[in-house]
């Protein structure tokens, strides 16, 4: 029991820490007449929480004892009074506190015990025949010592109690994947009582698990011993399918082989609701940005049409003044000559004052310009209508060039002051798709391209180019959207399709644009990839198949 192996702090194969008892006695391991040795008596003191026998070491001198206590914490020192002066020295130097000090009294007498207490002993016990008093005291003292230990899993007061009140659902399955334990949160989430759950295969309660195979004990050995995380849905008896996020890992037995698995999971319906809300927010953010561009595009013609109408009203008023003089002259004609001359003079004055020649010329110009402005507005509205044509629930054969072009028309007003747009459309076969969803992807990519140019332009003041290229490939089409903007940093490149990843300013993006785009393209059975060089620009490449196979809608 003694020796170097039992250094305090040693943990067993399950990571639990052993308590450490140090025995100070004249002859370590010596059996006492008619009874066990001290070490033997104490070794049977199992730690109440986890049945782990304490590590026991022996010393014979106070200096060795103090030295050992300095090397690493000791929970309890049992001092045999038979050590005499050495015993007194140990108690005096360690005093009360950590470790706990029990003095084993050889003689009897309360006076002696009092003296030990004064020196600093925690407790004095008589060395009775089977050391029962010592064991009782040692157990209590170990409890106290353990309460003072820094926290660790082995210090949990009552693991079962914790599991009962744990907010997360926890299920333990055996080697066959059958449920051996389920806490109340698990009962709630799974919609079944503990009794109903007991013995059922956990796997059978789930649908759409991301890694269903490894949810049983059999998988723990096949997949190694690491923990895993995934998503699934619980099919409750009431027919509700509840989305959960779960982590699970093997439970390893004494021989190091898995004996089952533990799964911790949580109902994430609220999280998913929030995520879909965020998706909607992203859509609204894009629409807001577009709306600003479109509003600007409409506002310019509106601005001059509005002003022109106002001015034309003034012109008409001026011309009416002139016309009233004309009427005056017409009335005067045939009458008194001097009246005719006066009316003619007034007319000439009015014509000059109103600058009728200019008015008529400019009136025609103002009308022409306003007509052109209203034509522009009509086009913008037409573009909006083309762009926002809603998808029916089914795929339709669509012209990808047209989808891309109508999207570009919508985004164009927003970017035109900074961007040269170059279009290189190839001849494409019709593609079975959800056109509105693809337009959303194109819009995301175009807005990103514009923002990348905005960023680089803020630095060098240069205008950028966005190139749209489409080409027919074997069994599909390829769309490339390139910009000459700021580019994407290498360290961000493999994260840009992650949900909520964004490098934009707070409020400028939700970080869902590209992940949404990625998912839409994947739903079409296509691919979306990126190539970027910081300072040079970025190209997004989107490939869509002509196949009609539904991909991604494989709900069981």
């Amino acid at each position: 029991m003694t020796g170097e192996a039992n250094v305090w702090g040693e943990r067993d194969d399950r990571g639990r820490r052993r308590a450490c008892i140090l025995i100070a006695e004249p002859e370590p391991g010596e059996r006492r007449p008619g009874g066990p040795s001290l070490a033997f008596a104490l070794a049977s003191l199992a730690d109440p929480a986890d049945d782990l026998a304490p590590a026991i070491e022996s010393v014979t001198t106070w200096s060795a004892c103090i030295d050992r206590c300095r090397r690493g914490p000791v929970d309890l020192v049992v001092i045999d009074e038979a050590l005499g002066r050495e015993a007194e020295e140990i108690v005096a130097r360690l005093r009360r506190g950590a470790p706990e000090l029990i003095v084993l009294q050889r003689g009897t007498g309360d006076g002696a015990a009092l003296a030990w207490f004064r020196r600093g002993a925690s407790e004095c016990v008589a060395a009775d025949r089977d050391l029962a008093a010592l064991r009782h005291a040692a157990r209590e003292r170990l409890e106290r010592a353990r309460a003072r230990r820094p926290g660790g899993a082995e210090d949990l007061p009552d693991a079962r109690g914790i599991l009962q009140h744990l907010g997360s659902a926890l299920v333990i399955v055996d080697e066959e994947g059958a449920i051996a334990f389920a806490n109340p949160a698990a009962e709630r989430t799974l919609g079944l009582s503990r009794e109903a759950l007991h013995g059922r295969r956990f796997r059978d309660l789930l649908i759409e698990a991301t890694e269903p195979a490894s949810l049983g004990g059999e998988a723990a050995s096949a997949h190694g011993l690491e923990s895993r995380a995934g998503e699934a849905r619980v099919l409750r008896p009431d027919g509700h399918a509840v989305p959960i996020a779960l982590t699970w890992g093997p439970i390893v037995g004494a021989n190091g082989a898995p004996t089952g698995a533990v799964a911790v999971f949580q109902d994430v319906s609220l999280t998913q609701e929030w995520r879909s809300h965020a998706l909607q927010t992203e859509k609204m953010a894009s629409i807001g940005q577009l709306a600003a561009g479109v509003a600007h595009e409409i506002n310019n013609p509106m601005g001059f049409i509005h002003a022109n109408l106002f001015q034309m009203t003034e012109y008409v008023t001026d011309l009416r003044q002139v016309w009233s003089r004309v009427e005056g002259l017409l009335k005067a004609i045939g009458g008194d000559r001097s009246l005719v001359e006066r009316a003619a003079g007034e007319l000439a004055g009015a014509v000059e004052e109103a600058d009728v020649g200019f008015l008529l010329q400019d009136l025609a110009k103002a009308i022409r310009e306003s007509q052109e402005g209203s034509e522009r507005i009509r086009h913008i509205v037409q573009d909006l209508r083309d762009f926002s044509h809603q998808d029916t629930g089914e795929r339709v054969l669509a012209d990808i060039n047209q989808c891309l072009d109508s999207t570009a028309n919508i985004v164009w007003p927003m970017m035109k002051h900074l961007v040269v747009l170059s279009k290189n459309y190839g001849e494409l076969p019709p593609v079975p798709c959800y056109p509105m969803q693809l337009k959303q992807v194109f819009m995301n990519l175009l807005v990103n391209a514009y923002q990348a140019i905005e960023e680089s332009s803020a630095r060098d003041g240069r205008i950028g180019t966005v190139t749209l290229a489409t080409v027919a490939i074997e069994d599909g089409v390829r769309v490339e959207i390139s910009d000459t903007g700021a580019g994407i940093a290498r360290e961000h490149l493999d994260r840009i399709f992650d949900p909520f990843f964004t490098t934009k300013k707070v409020g400028a993006g939700t970080g869902l644009g590209l992940s949404t785009s990625f998912n839409i393209v994947r739903r079409h059975g296509g691919t979306l990839s990126v190539d970027s060089e910081p300072g040079r620009g970025t190209t997004f490449c989107l490939q869509l198949p002509l196949l009609r196979e539904e991909i991604g809608s494989r709900s069981a």
């Binding site: 600003a292 506002n299 601005g303 509005h306 002003a307 022109n308 106002f310 001015q311």
Partner: protein
């Protein structure tokens, strides 16, 4: 007309129809009106002779109206400066104050408001 010099107002917008409409609106207000479709042209006109007031669009290719007005301010601090914008862009109020921009009008503009604001700026 008297021999007093008429105030010179420079209108800047990349949209010629806007310039045309502004010109129409202001033609009988007693100003000498200049127009520029680019910021470069605007700066050339500012350099060429006295300009009492610049009324510029904000969102233009190459340079924003605010940037243009900043340059105007550094060349001719006495020139009054105003913005007219169709896009509801966030323009920092502190920035406007720093650059001494007297007013920001929005498109479509109100004729009476435009005339009054311009008059106040020129007389300032």
């Amino acid at each position: 007309m008297s021999d007093v010099r008429r105030p010179v107002v420079l209108l800047v917008d990349d949209e010629p129809r806007i310039l045309s409409a502004l010109h129409r609106t202001l033609r009988r207000e007693g100003y000498e009106l200049l127009t520029a479709e680019t910021t470069q042209e605007a700066l050339r006109l500012v350099d060429a002779g006295p300009v009492d007031c610049v009324l510029s669009d904000h969102k233009m290719p190459g340079m924003t109206g605010l940037e243009l007005l900043e340059r105007v301010a550094s060349r001719r601090p006495e020139t009054r400066r105003m913005l007219i914008t169709g896009w509801n862009v966030e323009i920092d109020r502190d920035e406007l104050a720093r650059l001494g921009v007297l007013a920001v009008l929005s498109k479509p503009w109100d004729d009476a408001e435009l005339k009054a604001t311009l008059r106040a700026a020129v007389d300032a």
